[in-house]
């Protein structure tokens, strides 16, 4: 289990992302957003389509560069890092869970979970043991050698969570992880995410449209037209 390393894991200051369409038109996806996420939090990012949720999440995860503002992860400013340094931050500090799991179809469940470890230079028995343990933890001990095409949507997403955790990151970012799942599978995924935040003191930020999952959150942030609405503290627990 991972203990709290830094209390304030994510800090975003006056973050702005502007897309230029053609020569004249400028689309502001995110405007002057300030966010802090601490250890042990499960923060939901909600809002209508096009409100900038995924853009904000991508900037938190060093996948997109902001047009203006700063992102600090574990107390370190990452906005000015080079592409290579950003890749290392993504590899060692952030675990990404994608909407459709985005598993590599040519690899088995276990090999998918081993992939971040391979990228970190961890191979062989150590990587296999860690991947097996993670998959067993998410109830996939009998699916180690299954390929993604043979897994259900919920199973794929659990493999995706296991993969995001393989490098033991303290920050987990999930982009609509339950969008393609039924309610029961979606609740199971959120239960896992809450456990990872509350019990393991990770910082988890999840983009979702599904209001039924608010009960799992420790906090809900609402975006509208790229601006953050006043925060709501969620009181629910799984």
């Amino acid at each position: 289990m991972t203990g709290p390393r830094v209390l304030e894991r994510i800090r975003v200051e006056r973050l702005t992302k502007v897309y230029r369409s053609g020569t004249a038109r400028v689309v502001s996806a995110i405007s002057d957003v300030d966010v802090e996420v601490e250890a042990g939090e499960l923060v939901l990012l909600m809002g209508p389509s096009g409100s900038g949720k995924s853009t904000l999440l991508s900037m938190l995860g060093c996948i997109l560069r902001p047009t203006a503002g700063r992102v600090l992860l574990n107390g370190k400013e990452v906005t000015s890092l080079t592409e290579r340094e950003l890749a290392r931050v993504r590899l060692y500090q952030v675990g990404h869970i994608f909407q459709d799991a985005s598993l590599l179809p040519g690899l088995t469940a276990m090999q998918n979970v081993e992939m971040p470890l391979e990228l970190q230079g961890i191979r062989g028995r150590v990587a296999r043991r860690r991947a097996t343990a993670l998959l067993e933890r998410f109830g996939l001990g009998d699916k180690l050698r299954e390929y993604p095409r043979d897994l259900s949507g919920g199973e794929k997403q659990r493999v995706g969570i296991a993969r995001a955790l393989a490098g033991d990151p303290v920050i987990l970012l999930a982009d609509e992880p339950t969008a393609a799942l039924d309610l029961a599978s979606g609740r199971a995924i959120f239960a896992h995410l809450r456990q990872l935040a509350v019990e393991e003191h990770r910082s988890v930020v999840v983009v979702t449209h599904d209001h039924r999952m608010e009960e799992f959150a420790t906090r809900v942030l609402r975006l509208e037209d790229g601006k953050l609405l006043p925060a709501v503290v969620a009181g629910g627990a799984a």
Binding site: A29, S54, T55, L57, S58, G61, I63, L64, E83, R84, A87, R88, V89, R90, L91, Y92, V94, H96, F98, Q99, S102, L104, P105, G106, L107, Q111, E114, M115, P116, E118, L119, R123, A127, R128, R163, G167, D175, E176
Partner: protein, 374 residues
């Protein structure tokens, strides 16, 4: 964990088969053309290469082996007087005419040597012995030219430039690069066939005394004997090969075909690898979003290219070996020495990696945000 490159390569078997077929085809084309080039090059100089002597002495200005001009016999004695010379044997190489039993005529290249010595003698015999050539009018032809020369049995009497000759044996695999087959005979018989006077020769094949520096000996002979050129065996071999392969254009044509094969291979790999990369752009985006470096992505695609290259090479080499065996007794020798096999592997790798460049650039250009809904 098996590498991602292996998985990517093996996942789509149909595409793999198509790519491999293209690579194998290209490599076989390259192998056959280069094999023919090497085979022809060796054929042009095979008598020189098998002479076993150190130096070749010829009249000044002889451009290549097959067209030597007359040397007076006294040059032999002059060469023998040069310090460091162990022996100097006369050799006749001369185009002349062979009359077939059906009355037809063929051009041949008579090779006349001293059967008591080994210099210039045939090195691979299918029937008969070198000493059989001591008989009056005795000749040997290669078994592959029997039909061309109308010879159906040993002992057959034929006519060379109006002189009676008798076939006393066959050589094996001693082909001529020209359309004129080699006909081996004793020096004495060759004087009639060539024709030359008794005090004339075409070449002097020189052996040096042990420990003598060939460069120094060459210089000494040139300084002591007028009107001659002196080459080491390898120099004369290379001079002859260069003449036939490049001056006549025969080698250029083969090399151009080999380059075309190489280009086809590059195109095939480029096309199929690019298509495979396009299919996997989202996977590369996922990898980059997970923190994969550009180097890792580059290595994955490059490894795929190398896997294709090595697999294609193995198949192509196998088929090439069969082609070599099949061509062994034909008039178009394909030679695949180990150096050429290694060169082919290098070419296969260069071909595949060259073809992978566009794919690597494409994979590197993928943004990690591709996997996000932004």
């Amino acid at each position: 964990m098996p590498s991602l490159a292996w998985r990517n390569t093996l996942q789509d078997r149909r595409r793999l088969a198509v790519t491999l077929t293209g690579i194998i085809f290209a490599l076989i084309l390259v192998a056959v053309q280069l094999g023919l080039f090497v085979g022809f090059a060796r054929t042009t100089s095979n008598i020189i290469d098998h002479s076993g002597v150190d130096l070749w002495v010829c009249s000044r200005g002889v451009p290549y082996f097959d067209v030597g001009s007359i040397l007076p016999e006294r040059r032999q004695f002059q060469v023998l007087e040069v310090p460091g010379v162990l022996s100097a044997d006369k050799l006749i190489v001369r185009f002349t005419f062979w009359k077939r039993p059906d009355g037809g005529q063929e051009t041949i290249e008579v090779v006349g040597f001293d059967p008591h010595r080994t210099a210039g003698s045939p090195w691979s015999l299918a029937a008969g012995t070198v000493s059989d050539l001591l008989q009056d009018g005795a000749v040997m032809i290669d078994e592959s030219y029997r039909q061309k020369l109308g010879v159906d049995h040993i002992g057959q009497v034929v006519e060379i430039r109006g002189h009676r000759a008798r076939v006393v044996g066959y050589t094996r695999g001693i082909r001529s690069f020209t359309t004129s087959p080699f006909v081996f005979s004793s020096f004495r018989n060759a004087l009639d066939f060539a024709p030359l006077n008794e005090d004339e020769t075409i070449y002097l094949l020189v052996r040096a005394r042990p420990g003598v520096d060939l460069t120094v000996l060459k210089r000494r002979i040139v300084q002591s004997v007028p009107g001659i050129d002196v080459y080491t065996t390898s120099e004369f071999s290379r001079k002859t090969q260069m003449y036939w392969m490049f001056t006549t254009g025969a080698g250029i044509a083969l090399l151009i075909a080999a380059v075309m094969g190489f280009a086809v291979g590059v195109a095939v790999v480029a096309q199929t690898l690019y298509a495979a990369t396009i299919d996997r752009l989202r996977e590369f985006g996922t990898l980059k979003a997970m923190g994969a470096s550009n180097r890792y992505v580059c290595v994955v695609v490059a490894k795929q290219a190398c896997i294709l290259a090595v697999a294609g090479y193995v198949f192509a080499l196998g088929i090439g070996w069969v082609a070599v065996r099949a061509a062994a007794r034909s008039g178009a020798p394909i030679v695949l020495p180990w150096q050429l096999a290694v060169l082919l592997l290098v070419m296969a790798l260069v071909m595949s990696l060259g073809g992978a460049i566009i794919s690597i650039r494409k994979a590197l250009s993928v943004e990690p945000s591709l996997v996000m809904k932004v």
